[in-house]
């Protein structure tokens, strides 16, 4: 599961540190104590910044770094699409072999495909994504939060 891409992001995280934002959330993975504090800054419906600080395993740290790299600069609708594809991959229990189309959407995040085989680690990979979703809902109002799928997914792996 420890793809070089993941280790790279872990050792050299993108966009780490807390910067100015519209909303801040703090998420904890009770299973292992991974924590993240994450802020989002929106420019209309465009993601101006996702900044974060936290402690956790390589998977959760790398995942936050990948998230920053993937989402910053994107429109919310586009970011949501990326998130849902990532979610699908993480729930696949190792059954999805990412194809080119998926790789186009997820870029470095396809490296997490192998993590999906390890139920205990899926939560680590999703921690920052759940935090981002939550922070976005806070920043833009609950109306922007059109689906509960992601929370459901986390629950299922509990």
């Amino acid at each position: 599961m420890y793809q070089d891409v993941i280790l790279d992001h872990y050792k050299h995280p993108h966009g780490r540190g807390l910067r100015d934002g519209d909303a801040e959330v703090h998420h904890v993975n009770p299973t292992c104590g991974d924590e993240i504090t994450l802020r989002v800054k929106y420019d209309g419906l465009r993601i101006a910044d996702v900044s974060y600080e936290g402690q956790g395993c390589s998977i959760s740290q790398a995942s936050a770094s990948v998230l920053n790299e993937l989402l910053v600069g994107k429109e919310l609708s586009e970011a949501r699409k990326i998130q849902s594809v990532f979610l699908e991959l993480m729930q696949s229990k190792g059954q999805i072999e990412p194809d080119d189309a998926m790789e186009e959407v997820l870029e470095d995040a396809v490296a997490f495909a192998g993590v999906s085989k390890y139920p205990a680690r899926v939560k680590c990979a999703l921690l920052s994504w759940m935090a981002w979703k939550d922070a976005t809902a806070q920043a833009l109002g609950d109306g922007a939060d059109e689906s509960d799928d992601a929370d459901e997914a986390v629950r299922k792996t509990a």
Binding site: V28, P30, A120, R121, R155
Partner: protein, 422 residues
């Protein structure tokens, strides 16, 4: 004594089924074949379940959750997989509504305790009422007596008719606006009575009371669909449905499980703990403190697979036919009085009776000498005995592996008892 076995179409292939149950080959008292008619107390365990238990311990044993090593992941997958199986078996809307306990008694106590510690609108306190029935198992009486003593809530109950049914004639006076919870048995373990769920649930819903159904004697014997029942909670126990001992189930509606407070504290039921305070994991984990009965849950999953492979509708039909036959044959025995419904209509396969003045202990003992295992006593339903003015009953109870020949053996055995004490 001739057994009109040919005349009973619709029975299961018990010859094949019995091969799955090693204990049914047991010989007792110098070679007498075991005739096991004590299924309402506990069922026997098929090879398929025993194999899964052994495999669990020999290949996958680890503590569940929080583990990143292979065994821990396998054990967790097996344990949570068992939850999926049980959820499917009872048609639960969500797997997260299935809580594993140690037995039905814990499940019932769990609900009573949740309601005692709950906030409004669920809280049971001195202004409120609890409703049960006179045919409950002690495990569905004592928790409510304790709750009533400890909160001041009033305990009320439905009485029984002479033919072993619930007397619902005063339902509107018993279930009132003050009622917070109605808890009743779906199938009586002492009389076999199947109760009219719908009428009770409808009235409870009218007044906004919660409904808990004790399905301990239903889950093993019929299709159990918690959505169709429209109850809020359903409890049952693994050892009566081909599963291991040490495992029970409480199903509860998700919103309720979210709102209600935990019961036992510790282990995996938390979200985060500090010395000053803790928060709780979402259900079902909130209600599963400590290392759960892992192997036993996995075993129950295997039992549910086993029962489903035969078909719960087919099992119900088998038992119905057998019960019809047994009720008829038993009534041929002089001085035998059935306590409970005297036809197979709306009744399960547990049949209690008295035999003249002969004490059930003596009936049971002399039957045992012939290899026939029945249960004697008040069957943890003493109020039923009080209601019918008897100290105890003898109870024969059937399951998917029971045969008409075993009914015949029982009837022959009872003749012998009569002669012995005559």
């Amino acid at each position: 004594m001739t057994a009109p076995r040919q005349g009973l179409p619709g029975l299961l292939d018990t010859e094949a089924i019995r091969k799955d149950f090693p204990i049914l080959d047991r010989r007792l008292h110098d070679g007498k074949k075991l005739v096991y008619l004590d299924n309402a107390a506990t069922s026997q365990t098929p090879r398929q379940v025993l194999d899964v238990l052994s495999e669990y311990y020999e290949q996958h044993n680890a503590n569940v959750h929080r583990g990143v090593h292979v065994l821990a992941e396998e054990a967790t997958a097996l344990y949570e997989g068992a939850r999926d199986k049980v959820a499917a078996f009872i048609n639960a809307p969500s797997r997260d509504e299935v809580i594993f306990t140690k037995n039905a008694s814990e499940s019932l106590n769990l609900v009573a305790n949740m309601l005692g510690w709950a906030d409004e609108p669920y809280r049971v306190d001195r202004e409120t009422e609890i409703v049960i029935t006179e045919m409950e198992h002690h495990s569905n009486i004592v928790p409510w007596q304790l709750l009533s003593q400890r909160t001041g809530a009033k305990l009320k109950w439905f009485g029984l008719t002479d033919d072993g049914r619930l007397d619902l004639s005063d339902i509107d006076e018993i279930i009132t606006e003050n009622t917070k919870i109605v808890s009743f048995v779906l199938v009586s373990n002492i009389m076999g009575t199947i109760n009219p769920v719908e009428a009770i649930v409808r009235r409870a819903q009218e007044v906004g009371a919660l409904v808990l159904i004790d399905a301990s004697q239903a889950a093993p014997h019929m299709v159990l669909d918690v959505q169709a029942l429209q109850a809020d909670f359903v409890a049952f126990t693994g050892h009566k449905m081909c599963g291991p001992t040490g495992i029970g189930v409480l199903w509860g509606r998700q919103e309720l499980l979210e709102d209600l407070p935990p019961f036992l504290g510790g282990g995996e039921m938390i979200e985060t703990v500090s010395m000053n305070s803790s928060t709780y994991a979402p259900a079902p984990h909130k209600f599963e403190a400590g290392t759960p009965p892992i192997a036993q849950a996995v075993g129950l999953g295997a039992a549910v697979d086993y029962l489903s492979s035969i078909g719960m509708d087919k099992i119900a039909q088998h038992e119905h036919i057998l019960t019809e036959y047994a009720v008829k044959r038993l009534q041929e025995v002089p001085d035998l009085r059935i306590i409970g419904p005297t036809t197979a209509e709306d009744r399960g396969a547990a049949i209690s009776f008295t035999l003249g003045d002969i004490h059930p202990h003596d009936v049971g003992q002399v039957l045992d000498e012939q290899g026939i295992a029945v249960r004697v006593g008040h069957h943890c339903a003493r109020p039923v005995c009080l209601r019918y003015g008897i100290p105890a009953t003898t109870r024969a109870s059937f399951y998917l592996y029971s045969t008409p020949a075993e009914v015949d053996a029982l009837v022959d055995g009872l003749e012998h008892v009569r002669n012995f004490f005559g």
